[in-house]
Symmetry: D2
Subunit: 258 residues, 4 copies
């Protein structure tokens, strides 16, 4: 029986600022990428997110980002490799402490925002991220993009003996070479829930996606990235989870798959 994970960014609230319907979406996902207080999140939010994930049997991942709360970690910051390595170590450690306090194990690491994007493009940065992960805990799974752009991270993880998981986006259009269509292009985001759920199923079950030009391309997929920022998004996650289960796939945390 094929297994698939559903991962979602969580714990992005900060102080009085609330972001995301975490209490809702946690019930239907299987892995949570938890912000670590740099681009989003704070210790109270981290604590309650870890508690919620534990209660719902959801796998926990660190979601490290740039030191840029004002830009939500989405702006490129020209950090040195040494900076990146230590920033990632710091953030993983902070989240691990909450995991220990709640007696759960940290499952994975997924870089956030522009750090994630840069890691795909820059081999040295990918290495630095992988080194940071391996230095803190070599059992941690590295989460990266399925498809053509994962070469840097795959190579970096293999060199260090780290497990790697590939994620696909059911609500995003793909180019014929297996990468995401830029958000600036029309049709980049798929809004129809039925279509998104169907794509999720094809990704999870068949390891393939239909590109924007109709070509069928294959993608190794271990986890689907879903969103919990709006009620519509949460409904889509439920729909996807139902479709996958109905088709006989086992939806469960990455740590139980890899």
């Amino acid at each position: 029986m094929k297994s698939i994970d559903l991962n979602c960014d969580m714990g992005e609230s900060f102080g009085r600022y609330k972001l995301g319907l975490d209490e809702e979406v946690i019930k239907t996902i299987t892995s949570a990428n938890v912000a670590c207080g740099w681009h989003a999140g704070d210790p109270l939010v981290m604590n309650s997110t870890v508690a919620m994930a534990k209660e719902n049997g959801v796998g926990l991942g660190a979601h490290p980002g740039y030191p840029d709360l004002l830009g939500f970690g989405r702006r490129n910051m020209d950090c040195t490799l040494e900076e990146i390595r230590n920033y990632v170590i710091y953030q993983i450690g902070a989240l691990q402490a909450f995991c220990r306090a709640h007696e759960v194990k940290l499952q994975h690491v997924k870089p956030h925002g522009n750090l994630y994007l840069t890691m795909l493009e820059n081999e040295d940065l990918a290495k630095s991220v992988a080194e940071a992960v391996a230095s803190v805990d070599p059992q941690l799974i590295c989460l990266t993009l399925a498809g053509a752009k994962n070469r840097n991270m795959t190579r970096a993880c293999k060199a260090l003996g780290l497990k790697i998981a590939y994620e696909a986006f059911p609500d995003r259009a793909y180019t014929v070479d297996g990468t995401l269509v830029s958000r600036r292009k029309p049709g980049a985001v798929i809004h129809d829930p039925l279509q998104a759920a169907e794509r999720a199923l094809r990704m999870a079950r068949d390891n393939e996606v239909i590109a924007e030009d109709g070509t069928k391309i294959s993608l190794e997929v271990n986890t689907l990235c879903v969103h919990g920022d709006t009620a519509t998004a949460v409904d889509l996650v439920k729909k996807i989870h139902q479709e996958l289960s109905a088709d006989g796939l086992e939806v469960k945390p990455l740590g139980q798959i890899l």
Copy 2:
């Protein structure tokens, strides 16, 4: 043979800002209280401080503070107990990740600045700090002030089965009831190195201190707090270390004493 530890605040540099002669003082102390990026310190500094401590056989402690870099953690911030508990967990975790990356064990936790002072006065806060420490790692030693003011922290640590270490200040005058003379009073800080070294010896060897009025008072002392912010301060630490060794005391990290 009596043993004593010498602890010193370290890793307080931040970005381009440099503070403290860490490279000098590390050679003569036995435990380092490492700032965790909130009131001071940053991931690069934490990383190099942990590396330096390991190289010099110095025990590592987390030195958590308030989220107030501008005030260096020295201003009171009226945080809730829940906030304090989670802030301390976060900061311990961040430092632990660097310890793991360097394959050393975190030895102790010593709150910084106003958090340290408030912990002495406020029983609930002392409990929250102790709970934070215990929840992350019950093997960690809690470092607090020797003398009359340690009751809250002692009680909180005992209730949770945590080890506790008491520190005294060789360069500070003491009141007759065993607390520090306020810095605002004349004579509160002892500038004469010979006198400070003599007091250090009396504290370490005899567990006692001569109060400002000449009374001899007893203090249970496991570690002496020393400073590395100036060349004079570093010289004093060397002097203290020499005197203690010359008198037959074993100067070594807390973790090897308690």
Copy 3:
């Protein structure tokens, strides 16, 4: 004809974090207290808030707070008077630059959160705030609480020749000595819109409020503090504005009243 101002905290969003229905409430208030990037707000939010206020003929006020985004400026921070004075100068200046860019004049200053509360209790702090305001622009109006607790600020402003405005809270219960009932007590917040609107009218028109024990107390009131954080709150502001206008009061910015 009696005039009254309606003031509301605004511009509290930060980066990706959104707070308050500013676009709605701006249409019905007459003065905006704009967060200056310390406890809330950022330069983009300040810019668009100033633009919106200008477009709606709303008077602009600086709303300086502590350097504590994580605590939203609501936690006490034990700053020195020198710190407070310079923090307030800094924040007023930052907002004034946006006022100049939009060719409007800054009208008033209302400290935020715990800074506001501490200013009521601490005469030296009140003086420091007033000095900061006067040093940047002696034409600025200082906004403080109507009733028994305004003595410190009133004295400080008078000594410096600053105009002062008193605010009352239509949705808050008052003690018999003219101060707000603590939020922790039942009945402290008035949820019934009709009752709140009626209290607003009595405050604005008659300069009086019925205390929790039924006693009628007099309050010098120049402005009513209203809220825009929920749709219900915005509806209440509309209701209050209508009642005031229907009764013949002129609802207009502080700068046109004092």
Copy 4:
């Protein structure tokens, strides 16, 4: 009689962190670029820097940077033009408030670090900076690099009617096309005080510089950028000031030259 300004970055201390020998160098420069609390500086430092500048007859400039204290504003941050415009407005305003409090006029604006460098390369960014300056106060002088790289900023300032000042670096080698030799190349920084002072004189008096290959190139120079971070640097500034005066040049603030 030819006039020349000596400008220096100042007010870069932050909280307990001290940077620069400001009290020394202020005595010999004529314009100060004051950090505005984003990449460096804080309100207390800004206040005392403005006071010191006033006392020494030194012209005051805002030195806005990225929101990156950890990176000292030296790392590229991929901000939008709208962000840059508002960040610059905010920081100018904050400093202007201290100028008003001390009854001096803000003289100029010089972007800091990577913002300065990006402004040279990116025409849109140069426009945004110039727009920000013009929107706050069209009398402010924009300070940029003398030589080939000033085209963007010159064009942007001219379009808005802003005065512009060109700075040269006496202690830096120049390429034959009039730009600075990269710091990574040997010989990029001139350490010999005599040579630097001689170059300063040639720049100020003759508007020319000898490039690394010996070619004489002309540079329009209104101000020389000097440093106050070490005792050696301060001595160099004194030497430069003496040489310029001895040669009959009038060393005075930009605002009295342009």
